[in-house]
Symmetry: C2
Subunit: 109 residues, 2 copies
DNA sequence: TAGTGGTACTAAGTTATACAAAGTAGCATG
DNA sequence: CATGCTACTTTGTATAACTTAGTACCACTA
């Protein structure tokens, strides 16, 4: 799917929160996860800027661990504020998507 | 619902296309329509910038008509390119929302 | 007739987010 | 020692929504 950029604003951050919320993970793996979830064109630069933002907003805890395969990994996990932000995200997403569903539904009645 | 700004990127333009696609209408009325659809905090400044963008991208036809209640209205209708853009929007929206639905579904399995 | 409020459009500047592009660096394999 | 995968960093750009302020038409009323 091409040029989803604008529709992904706000969405990708929510996805990253959700992914981190499931299990402690790191940037490179998150990129691969997003790709496999259907967000195929999401690249590292995008994800790392999101992670830096999450850190700056104190939504995640970070732990550095060595890797067998390359440079050390920075593992992220959600803290309490992060979990709250995640539930807020799903709430907002639910709101917007239900309005859109309604709009679309009305359109072919 | 508070602070949906980022989630609305790309979405509002799609909504405006959809609204215009149903019947010829004008900016002020579009604002009211969006508000009644649940996008309560969307204000004129936002909608008019979208309309100017649609015009610049040649997705709409425009006709100026007098109003009984105020300044003349600029009526917008979708042209062929606009209808195509609208169907593209719904396609993209469907893609993104289905991925999100899947992500959310997986989350509480 | 001055003031208020609803209708209707315009325009300048700000902010937030995704994306592009390039680079640094560790490690394994051939 | 070159290639390729892993893994993180940084700088800059584009886009879209939002903020704020302003112009202007019209009807009603105190």
């Amino acid at each position: 799917m091409e040029n989803l950029t604008e529709l992904l604003k706000g969405v990708l951050e929510g996805c990253v929160l959700e992914i981190i919320g499931r299990k402690e993970t790191y940037g490179y793996e998150i990129v691969k996860t997003l790709n496999s979830l259907g967000f195929e064109d999401v690249v590292e630069g995008t994800v790392y800027t999101i992670l830096i933002r999450l850190e700056k907003n104190k939504l995640v805890d970070i732990e550095k661990k060595p890797s067998e395969k390359g440079p050390p990994r920075k593992f992220y996990s959600l803290n309490e504020a992060g979990r709250h932000e995640l539930s807020l995200f799903w709430e907002k997403w639910g709101y917007v998507s239900s309005r859109l569903a309604q709009l679309k539904e009305d359109s072919h009645v």
